[in-house]
């Protein structure tokens, strides 16, 4: 299986190196691509020094646009699967094989969830965000009938079908919950597997308290709208 690891990175100079080390150790057989979303720090320089392939976006697009660039690349280069891993080191590369196993078993989109495992381990986000996650989980369940325990997780594996969908249509900001609904509506088989995540090592999360209200409203609306669009055939040229 030809697998591409997609790492969206915005000002992740301090976290990226450790992640690349672990990727080299845990899954050296997969191709890695970093999408540098117009970082202002040395993210690009670091990638060049390490000789890792990098899509250097000339204009900052936000997480959704950056990730989509990765899926577009995976689609053009005909990868069998793509795994999205955050550049901040929250996601443990050792679980990549677990996610991919689920694809082999027939899932189209497999999400790494912090809330599935019985063991109380790892970082599970802080109070307010846990509330938001539970709320989105309920919302998605209401509108699609599917149980997704960690809808904001950006740790996910996609098969060809999901790659094609996301390459053609991916939300721009705060994309995770909306993209799940999109996938379900396009009749993709969405699965979750338990993973353990780390706390961010350096830098700030993209979601600040000021933006959280906008975040809740925007994502709620997006989820509700996405579930009304119904099945939409998406084809990518080339």
């Amino acid at each position: 299986m030809k697998v591409l690891i997609i790492i969206p990175a915005y000002n992740e100079e301090k976290n990226l190196s450790g992640l690349l080390d672990r990727l080299e150790k845990d899954c050296p057989q997969h191709d890695v691509i970093v999408i540098n979303d117009s970082s202002e720090d040395g993210t690009l320089r670091l990638c060049r020094e390490r000789g890792v392939h990098v899509i250097d976006l000339p204009v900052n697009l936000g997480i959704g646009g950056a990730v989509q660039a990765g899926y577009m690349y995976a689609h053009y280069k005909d990868y069998d699967a793509a795994v999205q891993v955050d550049g901040d080191g929250q996601h443990n590369p050792e679980y990549i094989s677990v996610l991919l196993d689920e694809l082999e078993k027939g899932a189209d989109l497999c999400i790494g969830s912090r809330f599935l495992s019985d063991t109380e381990g790892g970082f599970r986000s802080t109070g307010v965000r846990r509330f938001a996650i539970r709320y989105f989980s309920r919302l998605i369940n209401m509108f699609t009938g599917l149980r997704v325990t960690d809808p904001t997780s950006g740790f996910r594996a996609c098969d060809r079908k999901a790659i094609r969908l996301f390459a053609a249509d991916y939300p721009r900001d705060y994309p995770e919950p909306e993209s799940i609904v999109n996938a379900i509506r396009n009749k993709l088989n969405v699965k979750e597997v338990p993973v353990v995540m780390n706390e961010r090592k350096q830098g700030k999360s993209s979601i600040t308290s000021m933006k959280s209200v906008y975040y809740m409203v925007k994502v709620s609306l997006a989820v509700i709208l996405a579930s009304f669009y119904g099945y939409r055939r998406t084809e990518v040229d080339r």
């Binding site: 899509i55 976006l57 000339p58 697009l61 660039a69 577009m72 721009r172």
Partner: protein, 124 residues
């Protein structure tokens, strides 16, 4: 509507229309986005020259003051134009996004090509 208001409206509309035509001639703006403005300007002139028109519509809509009818139509036009701008901005934002992604990929392919060439040189 009094004569003074009529004169001001006609003068302002004419200057406005003249300005749009000049911009169009210099290719500063697209005709596509100015059609609504041109139409609005012409309507204003028509109303200013023939105030009876406004009174007629006011009577039809049961609006006591004809100037309120004028405001109503102006606001309606502004909303319409604003909304077309929102559509245009969204489309442009999407185009910029796609272009940015494609440029990012092209830059990487270029890097790969350059790397390959450098490697060839070293071998030789």
């Amino acid at each position: 509507m009094n004569t003074r208001l009529q004169i001001i409206m006609i003068a302002a509309s004419l200057i406005f229309l003249f300005y749009i035509v000049m911009m169009l001639r210099n290719r500063k703006i697209d005709l596509k986005y100015t059609l609504a403005w041109l139409f609005a300007g012409l309507c204003l002139i028509a109303v200013a020259v023939f105030p009876g028109l406004l009174r007629l519509i006011s009577n039809l809509l049961n609006i006591v003051e004809p100037v309120n009818t004028l405001f109503l139509f102006i606001i309606f036009f502004l909303l319409l134009i604003l909304f077309t701008l929102t559509i245009a901005i969204s489309r442009n934002a999407n185009r910029v996004k796609t272009l940015t992604q494609e440029i990012g990929m092209l830059k990487m392919e270029l890097d790969k090509l350059a790397e390959g060439k450098n490697a060839d040189k070293k071998e030789k």
